[in-house]
């Protein structure tokens, strides 16, 4: 290769490399700000901003969804299979909201440690399949669960 071209190629490589390193530093520095939500474990560890609005994400715990009072208010527990926090929300839930589903709630902690949400977003996972396949999968899952957990332990499936 012509030495001048080689020099230019190296120069371009260095430039892109330098920008990548700079971007890497910036993204690492802002890591916590880029995360969309806190996990229930982080909430329990007190890593969340006090008195300010923040987002918390996790799975809706099995058998935790309760309608209270006016019928629009919902109480449920959000879990990351480690810690669980109670959430209260008044409003319309997205179509995908259900037990075992990933969700992101936006709101504040009240003095009792209940997360009062203004908005509840449903997270969708990367699985796409026809209903019959999902049904068949659920059946085998239920059979496996019955085999491994004969006492019917109340577990939440991570997706």
């Amino acid at each position: 290769m012509h030495p001048k071209r080689k020099q230019k190629l190296i120069l371009v490589g260095l430039m892109v490399g330098a920008v990548a390193v700079a971007a890497g530093f910036i993204l690492t520095a802002f890591k916590s700000n880029i995360q969309l939500f806190f996990t229930p474990t982080e909430v329990a560890e007190g890593k969340v901003p006090e008195g300010a609005e923040f987002k918390v994400g996790g799975l809706v715990a099995a058998n935790s969804v309760k309608r209270v009072g006016d019928g629009l208010t919902v109480e449920f527990a959000l879990t990351d299979n480690g810690q669980t926090i109670p959430v209260r929300y008044t409003g319309i839930l997205p179509d995908l909201f259900r037990e075992g589903q990933g969700t992101v709630s936006v709101g504040k902690l009240d003095e009792n440690g209940v997360f009062v949400a203004d908005r509840v977003l449903a997270k969708h996972d990367e699985n796409y399949m026809p209903p019959e396949v999902a049904e068949a999968l659920n059946k085998t899952k239920a059979v496996q669960q019955a085999k491994t957990q004969p006492y019917g332990a109340d577990t939440v499936q991570m997706q």
Binding site: R5, A23, K31, A122, H124, N127, Y128, P130, V133
Partner: protein, 247 residues
Amino acid sequence: MFRWFHKLASTRNFYRLAEILAPWLAILCAILLGVGLFQGLFVAPTDYEQGESYRIIFVHVPSAWLSLFIYMTMAFCSLLVIVWKMKLADIVAEVSAPVGASFTFLALATGSLWGKPMWGTWWEWDARLTSELILLFIYIGYMALRASIDNPATRARASAILALVGVVNIPIIKFSVDWWNTLHQPASIMKFDKPSIHPTMLQPLLLCALGFTVFYFVVMLLNTRSLILERESKSSWVQERAAEGRL
């Protein structure tokens, strides 16, 4: 070794090649998109959770892939411009930018339409959505930069440097869903594991993705041809062809 490459790199040869390829690719594109969209919209089964709404995937995912693919093409061309001063690469990069920007916009718009019923929000500042929006701004910035410089040599160099710097954003978009927690779901297809999308849905999706890609090549070839004519309007081969009425 690089002889064929040098041959292809000459604007005159590329003009001829594009003339032959474009119509065939256009036919291929029509077939792929016709079959892909028909299968996707009418034949593929509904999703177990999302119902019919998931069908936006057949436009959304190919658009998002193309937004990245076209950018990588532009970045590669920019490298050829900076190191080898290849005129043709500058032309290809220039005509690719608006196509890439359009696909980026389409990916953002279709995602937003899907997000409202599924997530419950039109827009969320999560890492995937934000980095894709930055890609749109880079495309727009690239076009604005090109439009603002009159000297062709300066324009080619300056825009090539911008395109190469912007490359850093591409892996950020791709891996944003793995590096940070986001509302956007992780990859269904482009991962080491087997695709987490059922084959009956995957097949039309791949056809659409291929069709969209061929569409980009058709548009790129046609626009490259006209830009070659514009840039080389004073050269003898263009004059000759114009005199013979074969442009």
